[in-house]
């Protein structure tokens, strides 16, 4: 039997809620694996974020469209199948358009299928809400994930390499990196431990910012 619809949700409210209020990374602590692994280059991170935004948005739309005809007992299987299809589409597009980036982040693109953010939004929201609200919810979750990942990636690439958009024609060298220069790249920033430090600081700052909102002390508590 299909789930009973809950009270109507405002689409824009759902988007904002996922992008910031219930941000999947700093509030729900989801998607940490890829947040740590792919964020040493801004361009790779941007493509990973686009992949996740696409997967969450389209999966939410599809699951919502067929929610009333999906048998409850196979809904998880159907959800995973739908996510897998959209992730394979992302994988094929990267393979065609950005083959070198695909080689570097292919393992994590594939793992979007099992990303808790995507399956979580399908199960918690899209399977019981209307398509427009579900699209906004999925989009918001993807944007919320991307917001944190891009912040981590900018700090890591800048301190680790002295550049932004390294490996692309739009590379910006913002800090000198030659042997005679005053700046020494922080090698730790391009290795996974660097991601732990940066992510922790950004999560701390974001949660502190959330706590500053009037009446937010209760809801922002871990």
């Amino acid at each position: 039997m299909a789930q009973q619809p809950q009270k109507p949700v405002r689409p824009f409210g759902a988007l904002l809620q996922q992008a910031w209020g219930e941000n999947p990374v700093f509030r729900q602590v989801l998607g940490i694996c890829s947040a740590l692994a792919v964020t040493n280059l801004v361009f790779n991170t941007a493509l990973m974020c686009l992949g996740l935004i696409w997967a969450t948005t389209m999966s939410s739309l599809t699951v919502s469209l067929i929610r009333n005809v999906t048998p409850r007992r196979v809904r998880i299987m159907v959800s995973v199948l739908i996510i897998a299809v959209y992730v394979i589409v992302v994988d094929i597009c990267f393979r065609v358009l950005f083959p070198e980036v695909h080689r570097d982040i292919a393992a994590y693109v594939g793992l979007i299928v099992t990303n808790c953010i995507v399956l979580g939004r399908l199960e918690a929201f899209a399977s019981r809400n209307r398509p427009l609200a579900s699209v906004c919810d999925g989009l918001g979750a993807g944007l919320g994930y991307s917001l944190i990942l891009m912040a981590v990636a900018i700090v890591r690439e800048l301190l680790g390499f002295g550049t932004l958009l390294r490996g692309t024609p739009w590379k910006l060298t913002l800090l000198p990196t030659g042997p005679e220069s005053w700046w020494r790249p922080w090698t730790i920033m391009i290795t996974p431990p660097g991601a732990f430090f940066v992510l922790a600081i950004i999560v701390w700052a974001a949660r502190a910012a959330a706590l500053r909102r009037p009446g937010a002390s209760q809801e922002a508590a871990p």
């Binding site: 039997m1 299909a2 740590l36 692994a37 792919v38 040493n40 790779n44 067929i66 005809v69 999906t70 048998p71 409850r72 007992r73 196979v74 299987m77 159907v78 199948l81 739908i82 299809v85 394979i88 589409v89 094929i92 393979r95 065609v96 083959p99 070198e100 080689r103 570097d104 982040i105 292919a106 393992a107 994590y108 490996g167 391009i190 290795t191 996974p192 991601a195």
Partner: protein, 239 residues
């Protein structure tokens, strides 16, 4: 009439239809992009050769420039080399310092495919040795699925790969059966049997480093036997 979505025939039918529809969509996309993917793989291999033979920075070249350089300076030997002991065949790429058709073109390296199972999946690469097979010139890994940021640095960390360029190849396999040692302490001096054959592991990626060391030693062993045999049988082909 209300649809009974919990009845077994409905569940089976629904699952079958959903699977068929989505699988067909993916297969269509896969077939439609197959040619583009093959072209990209060829470009990636050419880029790897440009980097391996130090013909310039492939990141600053267009696909056409890369293809032109590789077309002029790299020649694939046909038929391939064969290791007389194992029967294994090796594609051999001869790299020249300029257009190979010019009279003064000088052979600078031989390269051959290497590969094996890494930490997650297969790693494929090219290893280059100097024309006397006395030392490794370089190594590249255009295809792998190692962990991004960890084992994935076999393709992105040029400094690590340059460590292989310092490895000297002895006249034959020594008693330890290895040409290269990947990982472990840096040899303190010439008395250490690993001296001149050691490359640092990638930090945090011991599995990938071990795998790379394992298949490089194996493939190099077979390749050098195949090269020795080819030098006896068809020395002119190798110039």
């Amino acid at each position: 009439m209300k649809l009974n979505t919990d009845s077994p025939p409905y569940v089976i039918g629904f699952a079958a239809i959903v699977s068929a529809v989505f699988t067909a969509a993916i297969m269509t996309l896969h077939v439609a992009t197959a040619d583009a993917v093959r072209r990209n793989e060829a470009v990636l291999e050419d880029k790897a050769k440009v980097e391996l033979f130090d013909y310039g920075d492939p990141a600053r070249m267009t696909g056409e420039q890369i293809a032109a350089i590789v077309g002029r300076r790299v020649v694939e030997l046909k038929p391939p080399l064969v290791d007389p002991n194992s029967g294994r065949q090796f594609r051999l790429y001869k790299a020249y310092d300029t257009d190979h058709r010019k009279p003064g073109a000088r052979l600078i390296a031989y390269a051959f495919p290497i590969g094996g199972i890494g930490f997650w999946a297969r790693i494929d690469g090219l290893l280059a040795v100097d024309p006397n097979a006395a030392r490794i010139v370089g190594v590249v890994f255009p295809s792998h699925s190692e962990t991004p940021g960890l084992g994935g640095r076999i393709s992105t960390d040029k400094d690590w790969r340059e460590g292989f360029g310092k490895v000297k190849l002895p006249g034959g396999v020594r008693g330890d059966g290895r040409y290269v040692f990947v990982g472990g302490d840096t040899p303190p001096g010439e008395s250490d049997p690993r001296f001149g054959r050691h490359v640092d592991a990638i930090t945090g990626a011991t599995g990938t480093s071990d795998a790379v060391g394992r298949f490089i030693n194996r493939d190099l062993h077979h390749f050098l036997q195949a090269l020795r045999k080819a030098r006896e049988d068809r020395p002119n082909d190798l110039r």
